[in-house]
Symmetry: C2
């Protein structure tokens, strides 16, 4: 992991070689303004090794079921995605519509229907306007710089598109990893109305790709929370087409380049995760919580998730309120092993609690320090070596307003 | 359970015979207006059988630790409680203060210090102003109609005091059960910054009292949620002094009156739980979710709690938005066994989803029906005999405002 990862400004899913993307305005919802992109395609020139991580919600939406079936052989070549309507809780009609979306994409792109992944995000319980999707699809033009349009077309209440990409060199060949994501409300550890698409031109075989994606997701997308809800639609897809070095030996579990490619995928995933947290519905701030000294990594993750998920912490962050007790209390109900007189806490690098005793601090100064776009907290449990970082956002009046008015 | 339970209007902890209460304004916080009650005492003329249910937060506050120690023998005679400052996360000084509160109450009331329960609620991490408590305590006058003052003195951001009482007759003797509670933010299944005190003049032995309290709490206080946070301070105390029939045989597990007294305690507990949910921070509405047809009672409780706890459901209720998909999605991540095509949902008695298929409904009419102070949802899982009811409230801009500004 010594070789450097180089961030690619404005990079995304089409930064890696051999990936093309494009989008159209299908008017998925009547209240979408003309021209709003809401239907997206991604295609690899070559078949890809493919892996997915899917929502833990018991009610998986039809698009997710179709995608899992198509990716069961570890292979995919294209993605069709829409925003506005999630096509979830739609019964047998919904499944038929998701299957038709895959078929329409396969026909348009000249790939096998079993190699198409389908993703939908938006309001649940409404039928997709399939006539509009049929009408809009032929007009989509795919290109090597279509990644930005793809990222834009999957947005729902997101205020900005989310993209990231990095490059690295191995054995004289330049490789890339790119990604796009959509988030906003209903994002939670273990997936949620979150979609993320990650592409790479490195040659990674499917089984390696699959375990790598699970690991990286656990330390990136599964460490963010917006409101604790999870949706039937959410998934992270990772596609590797090997286009950067068609004749190179596959980067399998024993390959010396695997650490580097893993770091690249993790960098893109953490960047997207932070962008998702930062743009949580109504959010004004990114909250980053680092936990050290836990009995285990699992315990550290429990504490970080509990703190970034606590409504009382989130409202305090919103109000620039140095009410640190709420942070410690959230650690207390996280389920992690805790000993009160070993616990310490800093907020914006100001120590407020040390070994179970409150530390006097300048509340006005800390309140001013909280009035920044990024709030950092660090908890030391004083028990072991477990560490983790979680990301979330503040809870604002705007969150309530957005979600009280979403469908009507 | 045929004999009727009679609600006692304005009744509370001093409705049962032999209980006296009173309160004072100690100025626990500098920002409390003069005259605001914040220090309360409850005393039984006779020693009581006593049982408690305590927070599951790993960080139990000093008052809770003192109370558990004092109630370990199943006996208590008095309660001292304050609002404004929780005396939690206060280290060794906090424990010393909680012990002094018990001692001060014991001296004032002439009972053994081991028979005093201590409760504190409010902001964490601040020291209690013990000099003010010492100064205010002697002025408290206990009386048979002091229950209302007691209920008022434990309020924090509550907008109204919570009390309930019922009477019933058994074998020619009239018995009563009364209660007071404080809630508002940070209320969650498994306790939270919630305090509830229940009294009865029925003669119930400690072991019976204890299992009865656990059962009743599971179907009342543990079925409400405001924001998912739990606090280090919260507890439900049940005191039985037997004063209604000093010579009657104890109502033990085999006694024929036990079903009736259990029903009376449950009625008071559910009434207090509903009052707590209705007065959640910033809440405008009570949300009641009934779940039937679950595989088990535990599964029914999981679903009810997930729905009343979902921020997306809570904001939709606030916005009169018939976005029923959010309700079904919350059931989906509750962890309960579910089969999509068996699920049905009604909102305000309007069926919106039947056996996994959306049912067309008049959205404008349902939105008007949602603009009431009580919103009822009914989910049928279609799997078994498990039923449960959960209570919560809508999430409003005011919740955010209250919690962003609480300490500063």
């Amino acid at each position: 992991m010594e070789a450097p990862l180089v961030d690619v400004p404005e990079g995304g899913v089409t930064t890696p070689r051999g990936f093309l993307a494009g989008a159209a305005s299908a008017r998925i919802r009547d209240d979408y303004p003309p021209g709003r992109l809401d239907l997206a395609l991604l295609r690899s020139e070559r078949p890809c090794a493919a892996a997915g991580v899917y929502t833990t919600n018991r009610l998986q939406g039809p698009p997710l079921r179709v995608t899992q079936r198509h990716l069961a052989d570890g292979r995919a070549q294209a993605v069709i995605a829409n925003s506005g309507i999630a096509n979830a809780l739609t019964g047998a009609d919904g499944l038929r519509d998701a299957e038709e979306m895959a078929r329409l994409a396969a026909e348009k792109l000249g790939v096998a229907v079993e190699d198409v992944a389908v993703a939908s995000t938006g309001v649940t319980g409404w039928p997709l306007p399939m006539d509009r999707i049929r009408a809009a699809l032929p007009g989509i033009e795919l290109s090597r710089d279509g990644g930005a349009s793809f990222a834009r077309a999957v947005m729902t209440t997101d205020t900005v598109p989310k993209q990231a990409a990095v490059r690295f060199t191995w054995d004289g060949v330049e490789y890339a990893v790119g990604g796009a994501a959509k988030g906003s409300g209903m994002i939670h550890p273990d997936m949620a109305t979150m979609l993320a698409f990650i592409t790479t031109d490195a040659p990674i075989p499917h089984d390696t790709l699959s375990s790598l994606l699970i690991d990286v997701t656990d330390e990136s997308f599964n460490m963010i929370t917006i409101d604790g809800d999870t949706s039937p639609e959410d998934m992270v897809l990772l596609l590797a087409n090997g286009a950067a070095a068609p004749d190179a030996a596959p980067f399998d579990a024993a390959h010396p380049a695997l650490g580097l490619v893993r770091a690249a995928i993790a960098r893109v995933s953490v960047s997207l995760a932070r962008q998702l947290a930062r743009d949580g519905e109504g959010a004004g701030k990114l909250l980053e919580v680092r936990v050290d000294g836990a009995d285990s990594v699992e315990d550290a993750r429990r504490v970080a998730k509990a703190v970034v998920g606590s409504l009382l912490v989130k409202t305090a962050v919103h109000g620039n309120d140095p009410n640190w007790g709420r942070v410690v209390v959230a650690a207390g109900y996280s389920g992690a092993e805790l000993v009160e007189d070993r616990l310490s806490l800093s907020i914006q690098d100001v120590e407020v609690y040390r070994s179970g005793v409150p530390v006097p601090f300048d509340a006005a100064a800390l309140s001013r320090a909280l009035a920044q776009e990024e709030v950092r907290m660090r908890l030391d449990l004083g028990l072991g070596d477990g560490s983790a970082t979680g990301w979330g956002c503040d809870l604002t009046e705007d969150y309530v307003r957005i979600n009280a008015e979403y469908t009507t």
